[in-house]
């Protein structure tokens, strides 16, 4: 169900039942709606929210399944969370419902009152359905537990370095001494700011402790001499832009996921998780574990990516190519406002795809309709048409390649991004989810 579907559903008469996975998926839909419709969003901040909201889904229902356990004491600085009274009954879907609503409104503190009302409406609607099959006392208990859980998660989130990060998107006082090959603010830009986005994001707390410890990847050293490995990286981008097929253009636009008009790259993968959940209908704990592992993998991927981006502070093809190959060259897609290496798209898509492989077989076919209905891209003459995939990993590869087609990432930005994304997701999947 797309976002439009979500809004339509809210106007329909209440059914007597709702599938478990559908409750989780509808909250994922709402999360994406808020991500997309809150101004000043960024791929970094959006990924963080997906991490907490995905984890909240899992923690809301984890006590329903005796085989699974909370991630308390396994994630950085998460030493406690409210525990349910084992002698009492809970409706775990109601816990999920109320905790998602509370956390979404508070983690997206900056969203409009209208959007907060939309969140309340979904909470009320789902509550009315779920309450049909539960006692008043259990419903009340579940409401209180859900809210308490969300409040704890919010308090914990406040110390990760990214709380209210939308107020610090572009630090006007951030300065870096330029060096050969260093990032230059883009001329063909996505953002009006000429300061790079969230320079501090790499210092933020990761979810998985093992992700904090990941080592610095290798980077091909700067050498503008024609034929050098460094030069060849940019030459490949230059040549590709000259021979882009319509299919490649469509991929470049589809995965661009500009945070000003979409739910950002991380949101796109969270969206695919909802599509896979709806198609395969896993049980509740598996569904929520999927959203948690995708969300946290994407969030950690952006933290690590930003750490390395600001370590290497490397230039984009739009800087190198006009200087050393062809002054009139311009990338197919405008530059985002931050350094190049490694690719954020590649690293988070690989992380999310790997996380999805924790739930689904790689050979799973599905349709990605994330941007269906959007007005065609006038500048580049590309429509937004649904795309079909037969394996999960192919979305990671296509996301990475799309940035190469867009002319904003070199092959090494993407290959290293893909490699590291897998490592990051493995560290999430390797948490002790089961007892």
């Amino acid at each position: 169900m797309g976002l439009l579907g979500l809004l339509l559903v809210q106007c329909e008469p209440l059914p007597d039942n709702i599938p478990d996975h559908e409750v989780a998926a509808q909250w994922a839909d709402m999360t994406l709606y808020i991500t997309k419709n809150t101004p000043a969003n960024s791929p970094t901040f959006a990924s963080r929210c997906l991490g907490y909201l995905g984890l909240a889904q899992y923690e809301a229902v984890v006590h329903s399944d005796p085989k699974y356990q909370s991630l308390v004491d396994q994630l950085n600085d998460l030493n406690t969370l409210p525990k349910p009274d084992t002698n009492q009954q809970y409706n775990w879907l109601l816990v999920l419902n109320h905790s998602q609503s509370t956390l979404l409104k508070s983690i997206y503190l900056q969203t409009s009152d209208e959007n907060k009302q939309k969140i309340d409406s979904l909470e009320q609607r789902l509550s009315k359905i779920l309450i049909k099959n539960t006692t008043a006392a259990s419903a009340q208990r579940s409401l209180a537990f859900g809210k308490k859980l969300a409040e704890h998660l919010l308090e914990w989130s406040k110390t990760d370095g990214g709380h209210r990060g939308y107020l610090e998107n572009f630090d006007p006082d951030y300065e870096r001494e330029p060096f050969p090959g260093s990032w230059k603010p883009p001329l063909f830009a996505q953002s009006f700011s000429h300061n790079p986005l969230h320079h501090f994001w790499g210092e933020n707390r990761t979810f998985a402790p093992t992700n904090t410890l990941l080592e610095l990847p290798e980077f091909i050293p700067y050498d503008p001499a024609k034929g050098s490995p460094y030069y060849q990286e940019f030459e490949a981008v230059y040549k590709k832009e000259r021979t882009l097929s319509q299919e490649e253009k469509e991929a470049a636009i589809w995965w661009s996921d500009d945070p000003d008009v979409t739910f950002s790259p991380g949101g796109h993968l969270y969206f695919i998780a909802t599509a896979l959940v709806r198609k395969n209908k896993p049980d509740l704990i598996t569904t929520t574990k999927t959203f948690a592992s995708v969300g946290m993998s994407v969030a950690d991927a952006f933290i690590k990516c930003w750490k390395w981006k600001y370590h290497f502070f490397s230039e984009r093809p739009n800087t190198f190519i006009p200087e050393f190959i062809n002054q009139k060259w311009e990338s197919f897609w405008p530059d985002p406002p931050f350094p190049a290496f490694p690719s954020g798209h590649a690293i988070q898509a690989a992380a999310a795809a790997k996380a999805l492989l924790g739930t689904f077989e790689n050979k799973t076919s599905f349709i990605d309709s994330a941007h269906v209905g959007r007005e065609r891209d006038h500048v580049r003459g590309v429509e937004f048409k649904a795309r079909a995939y037969s394996t999960i990993w192919s979305i990671a590869e296509e996301t990475a390649s799309s940035r190469f087609y867009g002319g904003i990432h070199t092959p090494q930005d993407n290959s290293v991004g893909l490699e590291q994304g897998v490592l990051i997701a493995n560290n999430i999947l390797n948490l002790k989810w089961k007892k």
């Binding site: 101004p39 900056q110 107020l167 009006f192 700011s193 000429h194 009139k328 311009e330 405008p334």
Partner: protein, 565 residues
């Protein structure tokens, strides 16, 4: 009855040669100015105006975080900053951006409209959402101005405003105004600051279309005129692109490729309405449009537009048979890599064709030095000769204007530059360049509107001399970037010694003709159509009706009395 009124001022024929160029006259003129940005790239404009009606053109320069300056022309090639004496000090509380000039109240003296983006506090604190009102200064006719933003009704809108365009959209003789806004504005002021208002502050903005109500008040009439666009805008340019004698409007928007493109609004006068025709006319540029310049480059009587941009500027040539514009920058030789803001067409060397100056500068805080362009028109294509003519300045350029500094008949140039935020090699200051390259003959024409606005904004002057045809539109401001060129039209004529004819077409379409005009002089053409103040007319009609009414009553009463009982 004479078909025109004309005043003549003669000047000595220039004896300069090609070896002479532009001379950096900044220091000699006593100008010390740079624009200091508040945060980011925004700002820096200059308006040319003769504020004291002494026949010499003065300058108003915005300073951003620095003080603005009103430079009074001392008639000897120097200027004196009379900002404080001129009662302009209320501008000190604001970070100013652009400036334009008009006689808003039709009293014969030029007034000022200044855009701002935020206030300056004494403690130097920055607002979390920078916005402020714009400013109107009305000329008091005694060398000073009075701020009348409140009485003109513009003080309640808090905006992040950029360029000011002036044109008489409803042909009532009062100059109307279009103000461009970059970020979303707050009508009635910004009341509450929360995380939600902060994240919304970066959205695109609508502009202000101000209808001048009798020279006393501006009424914001965007809705009434069917304006619905938004954008990260550097403002508009009033121009009659379709030659139907009313003021159309080009809107320049930054980030057109991902936010909102440029717009072309066709005035539907006498209906109070604009129609959006940018897609049909292929003017929906999706670029970083910063400013522009207007000229009938190919002398086909239809105007063409040079639109400044990041990387490559656009040279939009109009093809009237097909009703479209096509970018011919590459063919015309102006497609050079840079970041451009101001642009000015004039015939600097007076050889009978239009040259083009382009003010360039990095985005600041990016601080890569990039030089300004001087495009010499050579057989209808352009050659960049900034180095040869002494204009290769590497300052962080923004707005630029052309005007005649010493009333010697040629066009001089002033370029506003920003103070670089980061370490920067070359100096970056506002510079005045005295034209010492003009070799040919020339004619200057000043229009004095009567039924039209005093400055005759948007009027056309068509000049014929031998095979030469030049078609000039009187500048309403925000051509260039955030600036306002001289309204005195300048025509370079080469070796031609007589202008065969001159046709002045005032807004609305009435024309006046002049014939056999000697060159190397400045003439003033006064509009023969008289101004009819609608309000006054209405008042007179009302009075007339009252008198008639009273007369009728008196008549019947008298008649009644006179009737026999």
């Amino acid at each position: 009855m004479r078909s025109f009124l004309i005043f003549l001022v003669l000047w000595n024929t220039s004896t300069t040669s090609w070896s002479q160029r532009f001379v950096d006259h900044t220091e000699a003129a006593g100008i010390q100015h740079f624009f200091e940005v508040y945060e980011g790239m925004f700002g820096g404009g200059v308006a040319v105006l003769d504020f004291n009606n002494d026949g010499f053109e003065d300058l108003y320069l915005t300073g951003g975080m620095q003080e603005d300056q009103l430079l009074e022309n001392q008639k000897d090639g120097t200027f004196k900053n009379v900002f404080h004496q001129a009662g302009l000090t209320s501008a000190l509380g604001f970070v100013t951006q652009g400036v334009a000039t008009a006689d808003f109240n039709r009293d014969g003296w030029m007034d000022l409209f200044i855009t701002t983006i935020t206030t300056i506090t004494t403690k130097g604190e920055k607002k979390s959402i920078p916005r402020a009102q714009n400013l109107i200064f009305i000329n008091k006719k005694d060398g000073a101005f009075e701020e009348q933003s409140k009485s003109f009704g513009i003080s309640k809108s808090e905006s992040f405003s950029t360029g000011i365009a002036i044109g008489d959209i409803n042909l009532d003789g009062y100059p109307d105004v279009y103000v461009g806004n970059y970020f979303t504005d707050y009508d009635g002021g910004l009341k509450e600051i929360s995380d939600a208002t902060i994240v919304n502050a970066g959205k695109t903005a609508k502009g202000y279309l101000y209808e001048n109500k009798g020279g006393k008040k501006f009424e914001e009439v965007s809705k009434k005129y069917n304006l619905s666009h938004r954008g990260f805008s550097f403002g508009g340019i009033f121009t009659d692109f379709d030659n139907d004698h009313d003021m159309d409007l080009i809107i320049n928007n930054d980030f057109g490729y991902k936010a909102k493109p440029n717009y072309l609004l066709q005035n539907q006068f006498p209906e109070k309405k604009f129609s959006y025709v940018e897609e049909a006319r292929k003017m929906d540029l999706r670029i970083n449009a910063m400013g522009g310049a207007t000229a009938d480059l190919n002398a086909d009587s239809y105007l063409d537009y040079f639109i400044t941009n990041i990387r490559f500027n656009r040279f939009m040539i109009q093809y009237p048979e097909e009703n479209i514009f096509i970018d011919q920058a590459e063919t015309l030789g102006t497609q050079l890599f840079t970041i451009s803001w101001g642009a000015n067409f004039t015939d600097f060397d007076q050889d009978g064709d239009l040259d083009l100056f382009v003010a360039n500068g990095d985005l600041n805080p990016n601080c890569v030095p990039m030089y300004n362009f001087y495009f010499e028109n050579e057989n209808s294509t352009f050659q960049e000769h900034s180095g040869e003519v002494g204009l290769k300045d590497y300052g962080v350029g923004r707005g630029s204007v052309v005007f005649d500094l010493e009333n010697d008949g040629d066009m001089d140039l002033l370029v506003v530059s920003q103070k670089p935020i980061r370490p920067y090699g070359p100096p970056s200051i506002t510079r005045l360049y005295k034209n010492e390259m003009a070799k040919g003959n020339a004619l200057q024409v000043k229009l004095r509107g009567n039924a039209s606005t005093l400055s005759a904004f948007g009027s056309r002057i068509e000049l014929y001399a031998d095979s030469l045809y030049i078609n000039h539109e009187i500048d309403g401001g925000n051509t260039s970037h955030l600036s306002h060129n001289s309204r005195i039209a300048h025509f370079g004529l080469g070796k031609r010694t007589t202008v065969d004819s001159l046709r002045v077409t005032w807004p609305g379409g009435e024309s006046q003709f002049l014939y056999q005009i000697p060159v190397n002089q400045k003439i003033t053409v006064v509009e023969t159509n008289v101004f009819q103040d609608k309000k006054k007319t209405n008042y007179e009609i009302l009075v007339a009706f009252l008198i008639i009414g009273i007369g009728v009553i008196v008549f019947f009463k008298v008649k009644k009395k006179s009737l026999p009982n």
